[in-house]
Amino acid sequence: MTHSHVDIKSLKSLKKFEDVVAACNRCGFCTSYCPTYNATGSEQYSPRGRNQAFRALLEGKITDPALTKDIIDTCLLCGECTTICFSEVPTAQLMMLARDLTNKSIGLPLSLKVIIKFILPRPSLFYWMLKGSFFAKRLGLSWLFRKAGILGKLAPALAAADQLVDRVPLRFLKDHDRARAHQEEAILRAEHAYFENQQKLVSIKAAGKKVPESLLRAVDAKPQRPKIAYLPVCGSQYLRPSIGLATLELLQFLKLDFVIPDLLCCGLPAASYGMLESVREMAKENIKRLERGRYESVLADDSSCAAHAKEYPKFFQDDPDWLKRSTAVSQSVRELSSFLVQWGLIEHLKKAHWAYGPVAYHDPCKAQYGQKIVSPPRALLSAIPGLQLVPIAEADQCCGGGGTYSFVHPDMSRDVLSRKIKNITDTQCRTVVTSGSSCLIQLASGLKKKGSTIEVLHLSEFLVRVLKNKK
């Protein structure tokens, strides 16, 4: 291992967090609630250990950040430890800062930089890149990619993802009619057409000509920009568009008018890698685009992305202007299950029926810890007549998905997952429902490896299925 040094500038900027880290008095309560500690019994994979490692870096007791990289990188960022901690040490956030420090001290792989700094902020590039690689995989070329190291060079994460996701979609959410009609583009086009028609009307009137009937009708129907935006999260768009389609179906079922604004990735992957500048850039762009629509609610059907968008203000603590703007936007963000409860889906579910075996609900960490959302999904599910909702033991524990974590730390992720899979299979359920695509992929791959026939569905997918089951 080559010796590296702490980036002094970055260290100085972190000095103000010294007291936050020092608020840990090493009582150790967090350890037995940390999934990576439970999987390994190792202090270096515990919240207390990670905080002490970061503290040692800040205090100059450890001078080589390469030594602490694994300790800091293996945090799942689930946030459970903070809910246990009497002094509420925000370990997950501290680990993002620690990763930022490590990145600046020893650098990041080029491929990762390319993806996060160049591709993620460019939705169309992202779209085509994914489409290309998914297409190649369907053609059976992925072994060639792997061999040639193309995917590997592009990003180690994609190579691993390629192994985990076995049936990738070729049509993304955008490519489906159900979504197309609600794209922001369509709204913009309608608004533009309305505006043009008005102009036309004015000029026709000015010329004293007869106004065509069709033009009058067109001018009469002023396009209303919906108050609800559906935040097109990457998982529901690209990895499993059926989630996005199901959510749209639920919105239509509730007769809600909505728009799908054209947004970038929320920036969560960048945050996970501690690339905080990229997080801010992406957040700013998304905030600008959301401000434009003046939405009352911005619905995200992935708990992780919803939580991240709600946390935008945390990244602008030193920037009063953006703090204000990000706070306003983040307050409009809605997580799926509480949104559905709010809009009265429960009444409809009561008229439906489920007779296909026990159902278990898996809480994504970013729902139960990031947003303290635990009861709304259960309220939805237990409203369904005939549905037996079975609890999963150790429901507090992360599944090990953690966004790209499962690709980057496959061994640790697998160890965390195997405990979760055992707890799920112990419930004897037929279906597991969850609301994060990372969890969904993780659980599905774990169950499949175990030869289990338990089906994993996103909450939207499941509810659509239920609603089609009317008595």
């Binding site: 037995s32 019994g41 002490q52 490692a53 030594l67 002094s87």
Partner: protein, 712 residues
Amino acid sequence: MNSSLIADLVTCVGEDWVLTNPADLYLYSYDSGLDRALPSAVVLPGNTDQVAKVVAVLAMYKQPFVARGAATSLCGGPIPLQNAVVIALARLTKIKKLNKEGMEIHVEPGVVNLRLQQAVEAEHLFYPPDPGSQKACTLGGNVGANAGGPHCLKYGVTSQYVMGLDWVMPDGRVTRLNVEDPGFDIVGLLVGSEGTLGIATGMRLKLLPLPAYVRTMLVSFSSIEAAIQTVTDIIAAGILPATLEAMDSLVVKAIEAFVHAGYPLDAAAVLLIEVDGDKPAELNFQAVRIKELCDKNDCREFRFAKDEAERAKLWEGRRGAYAAMARLAPNVLVEDGAVPRTKLPEALKKIQEIASAAGLKVALLFHAGDGNLHPQILFDERNAAQTKIVKEAGHKMLKACVDLGGTISGEHGIGSDKREAMRWLFTRETLSLFRRLKNVFDPENLSNPDKLIPLVSKAVLPPDPVVRIGKESEDGFGPLVPQNEQEMIVSVKMLSSQTKPFGVQGARTKHGVHEHAVISTAKLNKILDFDKGNLTLTVQAGALVQDLRTHVEKAKQFLWVAGEGTVGGVIATKSSVTPPLRDLILGMRVLLPTGEVVQFGAKTMKNVAGYDVPKLFIGSWGTLGIILDVTFRLFPTPPKSTQAQTPVPFVFKDIHRRIKTAFDPQGILSTRTSALTAEEIAAPPPAPAGPNAPEPSEVDEAMRKIKDKFWM
């Protein structure tokens, strides 16, 4: 670090489970307390066999090592001094077997205390020791530290629940020990030995039926003094609640800010009292009595937890008190002194005086019912001058507890932090015995080195040299009946000086010695102290248990020792079975065959300072030393059932022989471990042939005088 040692460790556990990265090692340098030391490597065995293999390898290299659970110790217990290799046991988390009918559970050492509680509660069973750190601490650590907790007031500490241990000796040999084994209670010695005598890789724990009813009371007071006086009154009134916890306003505010359990924020002090049992009427009666006593001390608010959820919240808060201190300051020094319960108000006053003299902020948290005090001094270790003041004040508080007849640790242990304070509590002779015991188990001083016992220039002292006076003699003695303790000591010193074999007997109803000289404890039969307010009884070993029972019952208190005979005899032959004698003895003074007097324990309900040597005397058949006096715990109610038994003889094994060398380096004390036969009881022991004519010397003259006085 020796690379071939590392390679051998890797062979034992695999490459992934041997840590040498300096940053990883740094994370094994601390516990929840203040002391730090870097290990030279960390090994994480994946099963119990691997633990033994690892220890064998380390022993081969003479490499010190320390076992570690979750490192929630507050006294430096798992800190790797001497660059020890850390053997982390957190991967051993299997609950191996739950025997519901027998109410026992067999677990690995890495199982977290709370996980065990949850697992057995599902079966309507109950594991009482509940240390504040129960969310994280492991049962291996609990056994090492003889952990306590709020519920230990009624139910007793960890050692009452450890029925058997799979033990890896410091040389790597594995043995299984049970409380039921004939002979010394070695399990009792190992519990609380803080990893200095070896490593537990499995333990068989006793469980109780979950009490059917619980009533939890939250009482607030305008002063901490009033709260503590209430505790003293409750105990003195003969009520034994399940818990009796006291907190001051600083603690209450810190925990309430996190748990929102409804603790009163305006009170100066709060008591959390719980009574439990199977008869609701009895609980109500106790609750009414408790309320009367609270009212008598002008309590402000008195309320019951309305449901299980509120009760759980209140307890979550109480257990998180140490953790919550982190809201107030980056570091907390928690002391752990214990005093006789009647001394609580005085101890409180002393602690407050010490804190204010040093200008320190102290939060007060007491297992008040047990007389166990946890003053928590708030500071920031980044301020070196302040840290020094804090440590000094902490030591002063402990000294104050010792001065009040208490102890330096009720439940946290000694570790590295309180090592030197052991000198205040134990005599040089007792500390020497501890060193010899350590030497018996760990002659190379490898297992958690430099802990528990104050350091001396050499790690292990040889037995104190015995000055020989007079000549050896082959002839036997008749029963020697010293009239008082001083005579007993002098006569044993004399026997020791002549390396003369001898034995000890009490009322000669169970055990005696026929072959050698015999010393009788018959005349050492006085009640030394009957502390009604503290519910303790200190008596000389020759007192008859049947008389003692009658005596204390006059004061409506109960000695839970069954059977008949002298206190020494009942203990040495383990003839009182139910309730277990091992749960009743708080302290003991012993005369070793070397003539040294050693003492253990105190009049406190909890005490984990030093090795739990009194346990070894239970079932020792007089082979280790002469019990001089014993402090018993008394109860306000009679035992649910009692059972005495005919003493069961046992055969000395290697481990017994080796333990005996620590007590009796000369090997002069009888090794007879069987009851007297009917004929032997009928026939008196051989008459003494008379003392040898010794070389005339001053000492011998003195001896002769004594002998003349009490030869029978």
